[in-house]
């Protein structure tokens, strides 16, 4: 590791400005180095911290190397992969189109291409997939982008350090309402509605809450939001138990297919190119099997880029429709993936990026999620936004692999996002958080 740090400097003060132009290689080294040093310092008590800070970088790195297999963590993305230590893998997934790259990598041979014999295992719900991942019932897992953050921080479960090497899909969700609500125009018209979302720590929940709050509706006071597994949402909508939901596909399109709902708003209209689902592994797995992790990482990045190509969407819809994977009608999946779909209001829409696939896990996305977790009371106390984002979302490593495989790379790990016209600056998370009038913070 190159060190440009002055002797005895407190590492947080030398944190490089992420907007600065760096090669992805440098990014990688800095991110790994910095997050490890920060983690160690956070773990140490105040007196010990002073002692450590006085040591100087070389001594500190040596010290850290003794406790943490830093070279191993760094190795996974550094070399073209060596032989996988563990070839037979099982990967947990929830049957929704967001998991497309993870699922299709099995029938379309992406895992095989990187020397892995991986099978995907379907879970009944998000809590299940979380428990499988924590209990090592599966080696890697499909999760919602907020889940590895929540698990690492111990929100809703025991704290277990998790990595999110890649985002699976961007966009790809929608607000679906019962057809009897065709006259609804704005969020304010939805006061008193009962909604469902698939999981507390989900983009679905945070985007729905954001959308409602921007329209002046308090999600904890003016409406009911309950957690319901997606397949039950369609049935509940049919029965009239709920007025609508913000859900992953195919369950929005499925409601149209069943002639019970209409697509009110695609999630891309709230935040274009927002992250949704993710590919995750435990830190333990990544460090124990660096080569396997490297191969898996490459397979996922490759598959995700493959899925992004509109030319491949029909082939993919056919590959993931069978009972072993999504167990859904091909028509529904095709409408979701190609973006040419019936909206339930009598029109055929053509929106090719209704769902798209981009693996890059922007640190700024994690920071936005953390602000919303705080906003709605899912996280309490102070959060070191940047440190958590860098620890969990492996942005620089993802770019490193993208570069190696010949896919486009990025100049930074953070960027500003625009969500319903409001600009989010990841450098100012607290100020952003304070700008919301509607929230559930104590």
């Amino acid at each position: 590791m190159k060190n440009k740090r002055k002797k005895g400097t407190y590492p947080e003060t030398v944190a490089t400005h992420p907007q600065q132009t760096l090669s992805s290689g440098e990014h990688f080294e800095q991110t790994v180095g910095r997050s490890v040093v920060e983690a160690v310092l956070r773990a140490a008590g105040p007196s010990r911290r002073q002692f450590l800070a006085g040591l100087g970088v070389a001594a500190l790195t040596a010290l850290i190397n003794e406790v943490l297999p830093l070279d191993k963590i760094a190795a996974f993305a550094a070399d073209p992969v060596g032989k996988p230590e563990k070839k037979d893998l099982s990967i947990g997934f929830i049957p929704i189109t967001c998991a497309t790259p993870i699922i299709m990598a099995e029938p379309l041979g992406f895992y095989k291409k990187y020397g892995l014999n991986a099978t995907v295992k379907r879970a009944a719900g998000w809590a299940m997939v979380r428990d499988w991942a924590i209990n090592k019932e599966v080696d890697a897992a499909h999760m919602l982008t907020p889940m590895p953050l929540a698990i690492t921080l111990g929100a809703g479960s025991l704290p277990v350090p998790f990595y999110m090497p890649a985002v699976e899909n961007i966009n790809g969700q929608a607000i679906t309402l019962h057809i009897k609500h065709k006259e609804v125009k704005t969020a304010a018209d939805m006061k008193g509605f009962r909604f469902c979302v698939p999981f507390d720590y989900s983009m679905h929940n945070y985007l729905l809450r954001y959308f409602l709050a921007e329209g002046g509706v308090h999600p904890d006071k003016d409406v009911q939001i309950r957690v319901v597994p997606p397949p039950e949402m369609v049935a509940n909508l049919k029965a009239g138990n709920v007025n609508g939901y913000l859900a992953p596909d195919p369950f929005n399109q499925r409601a149209v297919y069943e002639n019970v709902g209409f697509i009110y708003k695609l999630s891309k209209e709230i935040w274009d190119r927002h992250p949704c689902c993710a590919f995750t592994v435990s830190k333990e797995f990544a460090t124990k099997y660096p080569n396997t992790f490297g191969a898996l990482f490459r397979a996922i990045v490759d598959a995700t880029h493959y899925a992004s190509n509109p030319m491949h969407r029909k082939e993919i819809a056919a590959a993931i429709a069978p009972a072993n994977y999504l167990n859904q009608p091909v028509t529904v999946l095709e409408q979701v993936l190609t973006g040419t779909y019936a909206d339930g209001l009598g029109k055929i829409q053509k929106i090719p990026d209704r769902i798209d696939f981009d693996p890059y896990p922007w640190h700024s996305m994690a920071i936005w999620i953390l602000t919303q977790m705080k906003r709605w009371g899912h996280l309490k106390g102070d959060v070191n936004y940047k440190a958590v984002a860098e620890q969990v979302y492996l942005a620089a490593e993802c770019d490193k692999i993208a570069k190696e495989l010949g896919y486009p790379t990025h100049q930074a790990t953070m960027t500003k996002h625009t969500i319903m016209g409001r600009v989010f600056d990841p450098e100012q998370p607290e100020a952003y958080l304070k700008s919301f009038k509607i929230h559930s913070m104590a």
Binding site: A124, M128, D131, N135, R254, P322, N324, N327, V332, I348
Partner: protein, 293 residues
């Protein structure tokens, strides 16, 4: 004698009436395109409501009929035939034939039930022989007995960290208490003459246990086992649904996932058939250990 006639004829008659009613109530009129514009028809075709036949006319999409409303008996029969035809085919990690699913459920059930029965009988005999101990432990059994076995699931999952063993342990919890309580009761309320005779004959402790106590309490124990058996059977299916473990409970869950109601009905029927098979096997076993006074 009151009630003449062959019961099988009545059973068969009821079945026919039921199936006929089911069939008639779920019949849908064939698709009628009159009064619809070409645009509307195209949209319906796009959404998969209808499909164009070779002669250019439209009919309801048979694929979609499976998932629309409550399916008729013919749709369920169709589903059953396809599933049974591939009973022992593995199409992937998440798609095993119904034959395998039944085997998984039965083995999970058998493991939990047998382990619980052994534990409950041993513990029950100990408690039954010692009146003080029985009175001391009984309040706890009474508190634990009515707890739904599924209520234990999250705690078990949290402690054993393995969904396969969690499912077996849920069955274990479901079948423990009734056997334990009735065994203790049966041993405790043995006819005193039996024990007196055994004492007079100066039988050894083991002989007394196997020749007098267990046979004497057998009818009560078997009764307890039968209650346990029922509650374990009730517990195994939802445990599989919640845990996502392959089995007949899982089958009904994934068919629900796809809103394939014919599949859900088929899964329910399979659960029923598995129950009947296990139950009749159990009754044979029970018949061999009980005696008539």
């Amino acid at each position: 004698m009151v009630g003449k006639g062959n019961p099988w004829v009545i059973s068969g008659f009821l079945l026919v009436v039921f199936l006929l009613a089911w069939h008639l109530f779920t019949l849908r009129p064939s698709f009628d395109p009159r009064g619809m514009t070409e645009e509307q028809l195209q949209l319906m075709e796009f959404n998969g409501d209808i499909v164009r036949t070779e002669d250019g006319s439209y009919v309801w999409n048979p694929e979609k009929e499976k998932v629309k409303g409550v399916p008729g008996p013919l749709a369920v029969l169709n589903k059953a035939l396809t599933e049974l035809g591939e009973a022992f085919v593995k199409k992937g990690t998440n798609d095993h034939g119904i034959g395998y699913l039944v085997l998984y459920t039965v083995s999970r059930f058998a493991g939990g039930f047998l382990a619980a029965s052994v534990a409950a009988i041993v513990l029950g005999v100990v408690l039954g022989l010692n009146r003080v101990l029985f009175q001391a432990i009984n309040p706890y059994i009474q508190i634990l007995k009515p707890i739904s076995p599924l209520a234990w699931m999250p705690l078990l999952l949290y402690t054993v960290k393995d969904p396969k063993w969690t499912a077996v342990l849920v069955v274990f919890m479901a079948s423990l208490w009734p056997t334990l309580a009735t065994t203790a009761f049966g041993v405790n309320s043995l006819k005193k003459e039996y024990l007196h005779v055994a004492a007079i004959l100066q039988l050894s402790w083991f002989k007394r246990l196997f020749k007098v106590i267990l046979p004497g309490a057998a009818p009560t124990i078997v009764n307890g086992l039968r209650i346990s058996f029922g509650s374990a059977l009730v517990a195994v299916v939802p445990a599989e649904m919640l845990l996502g473990e392959l089995g007949v409970g899982y089958l009904s869950w994934i068919e629900w996932n796809n809103l394939d109601i014919a599949g859900v009905i088929f899964a329910i029927l399979v659960v029923g058939v598995v129950g009947v098979i296990l139950d009749s096997g159990f009754n044979k076993l029970a018949g061999s250990v009980t005696y008539q006074e």
